[in-house]
């Protein structure tokens, strides 16, 4: 576990010093939220019904953008070899990358949610919404980290990432959007089945990614 934290610390330090993609992710999420407002031109009732969709599309896009870079950058710099030479197994490298990616997405959400609250006037700062955001971030980062590693050493990596992530993240999109919509409409209690489904999704795919990551990194 200490090794995992060392890897996480390394990623945070690199990001803090280089400021490579976190800033871009945040701005991208905000610009998506703003653009979607023009795309749909929502009235009050529509906002309750569709606002959550816009919010999660923004997270999904921003997450994809940032996650897509997370292993590609390592490969381009040649630091991926360094990582694989470390005396840690592939699963540990996955966990390190996964945790730092969760943190990046949560930071994006931490900026976007208050802005969303201000712009759309929806209760996006409710504890349940925040919990849903974190559960969604975990699932997104789990699959995203795995596919980022797949895409990193492939041709056409930018297009490969969404092609893999979008279909497989469908349960995540449906679950987070439905649950957040229910909370926005004041039926928070009905959202609990979705919490369970998403929690199960997170556990299954983070565990699976941990197991199969070995197949990806082995060169």
């Amino acid at each position: 576990m200490r090794r995992v934290w060392a890897l996480v610390w390394k990623d945070l330090l690199v990001e803090f010093r280089g400021r490579e993609f976190l800033g871009a992710m945040v701005v991208f999420a905000l610009i998506t939220i703003v653009t979607l407002n023009f795309a749909f031109d929502l009235s009050r009732g529509d906002r309750e019904a569709s606002g959550a969709g816009g919010l999660w599309i923004a997270f999904l896009f921003a997450g994809m953008l940032g996650l897509g870079r997370s292993l590609a950058v390592e490969r381009d710099r040649g630091t991926l070899e360094g990582l694989t030479l470390c005396p840690v197994d592939a699963g540990t490298i996955f966990l390190g990358k996964f945790i730092s990616n969760v943190l990046f997405i949560v930071i994006v959400q931490a900026v976007s949610l208050p802005v969303f609250y201000g712009l759309y006037n929806l209760p996006s700062l409710e504890p349940m919404v925040l919990l849903m955001a974190v559960i969604g971030a975990i699932g997104l980062a789990g699959l995203g980290t795995l596919f980022s590693a797949l895409a990193a050493s492939s041709r056409a990596r930018e297009i490969l990432m969404p092609l893999l992530l979008f279909p497989l993240a469908i349960p995540l999109v449906i679950g987070t959007v439905r649950a957040t919509t229910l909370i926005f409409q004041g039926d928070g209690a009905e959202a609990w089945p979705w919490f369970n489904l998403l929690a199960a999704f997170d556990v299954i795919f983070v565990t699976l990614s941990y197991i199969v990551f070995d197949l990806v990194l082995e060169e």
Partner: protein, 259 residues
């Protein structure tokens, strides 16, 4: 000489499987068009089910085989397991495409719409995208061995995701205020229709098995060919390798695999 004999025997078996497939499918088509009564409510449009249901079953069966092949590849790293997975993926993609097309053809007269966002339909559509992702990962990976590993990752993740996708779409639909259109009672099917459906299911499953055998054979030859090209590339002095025709080698390989 022994090698030849066993190859011949396996060729005979494959041909027998092919003939059996043709026989059962012919019977199935006859039953679907002549023996089975036409549906009271849906008329003749209902007959597409005798193709549609087997296609759907094979789409998911093929994905299950991809999963088995992928897990097997992760476990043993055997080229055979990868061939199994990728052959099944290609057939699965074909059947998934066909189930979407036949479903839409049926939906147009019955629902008055090509498409409904219903759980089974939506899951099948996503399955179609997962198959595409599976091929793209393999194609973009650069080299064959890496492609096999990456495809195995997608084979495992994708297959496990399918039931979860189905579950989430089901809830999404039922928690939405919309009527459920698709209500084809399976158990209250008349015997003649059920018999037709079962024969068609058997026929198309045989077809899948037959195509799988042929497809894995082709892939075996293809692998052997790629192997020889590599050998020729890295050892240019052994030029005799290039001149031998490919076919005998492939026969040896497939024969050896079945011994």
């Amino acid at each position: 000489m022994m090698q030849r004999n066993s190859t011949n025997r396996s060729d005979m078996l494959v041909m027998g499987l092919g003939l059996l497939t043709v026989a059962v499918l012919t019977l199935g088509i006859f039953m679907a068009f002549v023996y089975a009564p036409s549906d009271l409510a849906q008329g003749n449009a209902q007959r597409i089910f005798y193709v549609h249901v087997p296609m759907a079953w094979l789409a998911y069966l093929a994905m299950a085989v991809v999963f088995v092949g992928s897990v097997g590849y992760m476990w043993k790293r055997s080229a055979r397991m990868d061939r199994l997975a990728r052959s099944s993926a290609e057939l699965g993609f074909l059947f998934t495409t066909l189930v979407l097309i036949t479903g839409s053809l049926w939906g147009r007269p019955i629902w008055n719409a090509w498409w409904q966002w219903e759980a089974r339909l939506t899951t099948t559509l996503i399955l179609w995208f997962i198959f595409i992702g599976y091929f793209m990962v393999r194609a973009y990976a650069g080299d064959r061995e890496r492609g096999a590993r990456y495809a195995a990752v997608l084979g495992i993740i994708g297959a496990i995701d399918v039931p979860i996708i189905h579950q989430s779409v089901t809830w999404w639909r039922t928690l939405h205020p919309e009527p459920i259109v698709l209500d084809t009672g399976g158990p209250n099917l008349p015997d003649s229709m059920l018999a037709t459906l079962l024969v068609c299911l058997a026929g198309f499953t045989l077809l899948y098995a037959y195509l799988m055998v042929q497809k894995t054979r082709i892939e075996t030859v293809r692998d052997a060919l790629a192997e020889r090209e590599l050998t020729a590339l890295f050892a240019p002095e052994s030029e005799t390798l290039d001149r031998r025709p490919v076919a005998p080698v492939s026969r040896n390989v497939s024969g050896a695999a079945e011994d």
